[in-house]
Symmetry: C2
Subunit: 241 residues, 2 copies
Amino acid sequence: MRPRIYLFGDSITESSFTPGGWGASLAHHFCRTADVVLRGYSGYNTRWALLVADKVFPPAEGDSHGGGAPLAVTVFFGANDACLPDRCSGFQHVPLEEYKQNLHSIVSFLKKRWPKTTIILITPPPIDEEARLQFPYVENPSGLPERTNEAASAYAKACIAAAEESGCLVVDLWTKMQEFPNWKSACLSDGLHLAETGNKIVFEEVVKKLKEQGLSLETLPVDLPLIGNIDPENPLKAFEN
Amino acid sequence: MRPRIYLFGDSITESSFTPGGWGASLAHHFCRTADVVLRGYSGYNTRWALLVADKVFPPAEGDSHGGGAPLAVTVFFGANDACLPDRCSGFQHVPLEEYKQNLHSIVSFLKKRWPKTTIILITPPPIDEEARLQFPYVENPSGLPERTNEAASAYAKACIAAAEESGCLVVDLWTKMQEFPNWKSACLSDGLHLAETGNKIVFEEVVKKLKEQGLSLETLPVDLPLIGNIDPENPLKAFEN
């Protein structure tokens, strides 16, 4: 059975199979080597993610019948935790220290279930505050964005610290994206969710981290003979084993 | 655990998670209700597909630990079977009668494994012969296309007959695509593989067939509370069960 890679996160994960999305790109990249399994929950913060982790990753999926432990899990939360508490999406806010502790708890949960699985934390993306006012998700008469780039920066730093403390890999998306010229329009579609370049960055960074762990197209076994390895003179030979 | 929908087929399935691809569109459509599992094998015909079916669908994936029987399987072969035997891709050719018999055998295999799973056969797409000469996959000095639309038509008809005889659903892609004005450029990228409109047709037809079987966003249970059903005044209430 093919190994699996889980994508656990909020709406930036849930929407990752739209055209050009980073999840679909991973599924295509690993189309003959691994199943990319979508576990994105729009609007969720780490508090809610922790509450449901046992349902998202039921024990049976880790046993030998369910295909064994997954190769990797991406954990991509923080964009909702970082909503400012006194603004229009305040009910999604999680205090910075709790966010970091929740990430630790999610990592502990995953490590207990699957000790050898690669865990990749992804920081929240940077925020384009003007675009957040232009594309509100809920009524926002205050004139103030529900998320700021300053808050996103603090949550990104906490995510990186949690990864370092727990020995996980981390993609510092907050920093990576802002290295791009015109990152606000190139990387983001509404000041928060990913546009083409943003999706490309997440895809490439996750592939790079997996490769660092020896999980790449060069090392993972291919599921069944590739057409290029089937002898036109004797095609059935490839299927003899 | 989430139910699964398997996509079993050749390169038109294997490449279905590229941007705008029908597989990725299905995965996005069912992002909170079902896992769309890619089992595309580029270049394969029904003869080879039948040989590997037991490896593609190992028994353990159907038991209670592996998530139970899948909701549905799409079976999308024929484009390679229909390669003309005396042209440059002749080693992929499967005679028409054997193709039909192989489809019956694949359906029997799936029905034996999972009696209640919805099986959807998809006919090969129509062929743009001029484009096949423009975009050859192997050296083709003959000046004759390795596939013709006439052959594709015969295989499509055999696929429809196999579906009717075995009581499966079928998407008549060969006909559906040719209903579009400029189908050669709108639906196909190289005379065989799918362009934007072609992908859209497959996605929409599969969603329609699933819906006819009661498998739709309206009927399938959602995995965990949707953000719209979480009370901002008391978010944790949604997670009490």
